[in-house]
């Protein structure tokens, strides 16, 4: 019996390693191309690892100014995350503690998250043209704030409901104002939830393609749009595609590495508390 178990563990471990190889190989390939020389990239049959690690592909992005798109992404995703987190959390507090609008409002809010972006971005584009907001930071920041608010409200409502009421009540009894109770008692209590939700909110804006494709021209282009600019009919700038993709993917990997505990809850819209 015991022997069979050890046997099956070894088999499962082998299967796990195989799965890992299959799922990580594309990411390995992408990262590796970013460090290859052009000759290595365009050798047929392809080589599976670069002869030496060199950073010319990244240097090229910074020299040509294309790396600015990463900073655009950072500024736009960062600012919209801060705004959405603040406005979303206080709104979530209203839903969680006062049942404002009842279940109908809560369901309407989360349903807004699930509409195809293309359907809402088309009329908004025409509005932005009229307002002169196309290719501006504030235009895109507002759009991402709006797009992420349902997620923030939905998630933070769950986190706030996990906080016992007694703390707020005693603060209120002690003469704290409503705002004081919210900002000084509730916010610190849900700080882990705030942090986890903020990271996912940031990642959604950071990884978005369609809003940025429609709403940017040249000034505030974000990195995912820049990646597609390198696709040509004839010559593909593979080194740039890979290097830019690595600049975009690496920060997300790092951020989520610290968030393993909240990963399941974050991507399941709070359905699984993990």
């Amino acid at each position: 019996m015991k022997r069979r178990r050890r046997h099956s563990t070894a088999l499962r471990f082998a299967a796990a390693v195989l799965l890992l190889v299959v799922f990580l190989f594309p990411i390995y390939w992408l990262f590796m191309i970013a460090f290859k020389t052009p000759e290595e990239i365009f050798s047929s049959p392809p080589t599976w690892y670069p002869a030496s690690i060199q950073f010319d592909n990244f240097r090229g992005l910074f020299k040509s100014g294309d790396a600015k798109t990463v900073f655009n992404s950072l500024f736009i995703a960062g600012t919209s995350t801060l705004i959405a987190m603040f406005l979303g959390t206080i709104a979530a507090y209203s839903l969680a503690r006062f049942r404002t609008g009842g279940e109908n409002l809560a369901v309407w809010i989360i349903s807004q998250r699930m509409i195809p972006p293309i359907a809402i971005v088309f009329p908004l584009f025409l509005l932005y043209v009229w307002l002169g907001w196309v290719d501006t930071y504030h235009g895109l920041i507002l759009l991402y704030t709006a797009f992420n608010l349902p997620y923030v409200i939905w998630m933070m409502r769950g986190y706030i409901e996990d906080v016992p009421l007694e703390l707020e009540e005693s603060a209120l009894v002690d003469g704290c104002t409503r705002w004081g109770a919210l900002l000084k008692v509730v916010f610190p209590m849900v700080r882990n939830g705030l942090f986890a939700t903020a990271v996912f909110t940031f990642v959604f804006a950071w990884n978005d393609f369609i809003f940025a494709l429609v709403m940017t021209r040249s000034e505030v282009t974000t990195y995912p749009v820049q990646v597609t600019h390198y696709f040509g009919a004839q010559s593909n700038f593979w080194a740039k595609i890979a290097a830019m993709s690595v600049l975009g993917a690496a920060p997300v990997f790092l951020a989520v590495a610290f968030l393993q505990r909240y990963l399941v809850r974050g991507i399941s819209l709070g359905a699984v508390k993990g």
Binding site: I90, S111, E169
Partner: protein, 305 residues
């Protein structure tokens, strides 16, 4: 701190105070709702108005034209084909992601050396921007410089010159592979969490009573993980219905219009052909249809607490 003296109704509700506090719950809710109306109501109203006018690239006729664009929806073969492509991708990718995700979750359910590391690494594909995932697979599928044809060549024993994203016979498999690669880890992670929460004593008791593994799975495990499975299917299903990024990066809807999805077709109508009124009609129908479906599903599944 003093003991709570305030008398509150059950269910986590704070009694609404009198005086200036009375409006507090609305004051904190309104900014968010106001911004949400911007994406929730404005597009709906605007697309409705534009869709009964006749705004095209050539003319800006804002007089009332009735339902001509809605009638056109039914005659537009390319639109229905794009819906067909979208449903095809959804119908193939979603069950495979669910099945593979479930198998992987079962594999990692029991103790395994290094399990947290495996799980943390397996989830990485899901975190990549979908457009970057598409770009990555385009590099992998390249017929000369990509490793996929190379590996297939080793297996076949002769050079394999498949033009993955160009050849009509291979373009859908390429999309399925990229899509399934990226999102199976999502299913895996959610189902693993759900399976870990299944009450062990119940499954063990059933096994002692002589129930087969399949019966235990169908009668005990499946009902227990169904709520999570349903929300995972809902999230992924709706993602697939609006699929754009990965297909755009791989094929831009080509060859021809062979892989044009509903989102890609809408994008082309609106931003390449500048058929404003007609795009308005498509967008309006999509917003209305999906809002109804989503709210119905959310209420049915009782994901709200």
């Amino acid at each position: 701190m003093s003991a709570p003296a305030m008398n509150t109704p059950s269910g986590g509700i704070i009694a609404v105070g009198q005086g200036p506090d009375r409006h507090f719950k609305y004051v904190i809710l309104l900014p968010a709702v106001f911004i949400l109306l911007f994406i929730g109501i404005f597009p709906l109203v605007y697309t409705l108005i534009a869709s009964v006018q006749n705004i095209t690239m050539l003319e800006e006729d804002t007089s009332f034209h009735g339902l001509i664009h809605y009638r056109h929806l039914f005659e537009d073969a390319r639109l229905w084909e794009s819906i067909g492509h979208t449903l095809l991708i959804t119908g193939i990718a979603l069950p495979i992601e669910l099945g593979l995700g479930l198998l992987m979750a079962l594999l990692f359910l029991e103790k395994l050396p290094g399990r947290p590391v495996f799980v943390a690494l397996l989830v990485l594909p899901t975190l990549i921007a979908p457009v970057v995932a598409g770009a990555t697979w385009r590099l992998l599928f390249d017929h000369r410089y990509g490793p996929i044809n190379q590996v297939l060549g080793w297996i076949a024993g002769e050079p394999v010159p498949i033009l993955w994203v160009i050849n009509p016979a291979y373009v859908y498999p390429a999309i399925f592979i990229a899509e399934i690669w990226q999102w199976t880890p999502f299913m895996f992670l959610l189902l693993l969490a759900a399976l870990s929460n299944v009450d062990k004593s119940q499954t063990e008791a059933a096994e002692i009573d002589g129930a087969s593994t399949l019966t235990v799975f169908r009668r005990i495990i499946l009902p227990a993980i169904w709520p999570v499975m349903a929300i995972a299917l809902l999230i992924r299903g709706l993602d697939l219905i609006r699929i754009f990024d990965v297909v755009w990066a791989l094929t831009q809807g080509g060859p021809g219009t062979m892989t044009e999805t509903l989102s890609i077709y809408t994008y082309i109508q609106g931003f390449r052909q500048f058929e404003t009124s007609y795009t308005g009609a498509i967008a309006f129908m999509v917003i209305v249809a999906l809002t109804v479906v989503v709210i119905w599903l959310l209420r049915r599944m009782e994901v709200h607490r």
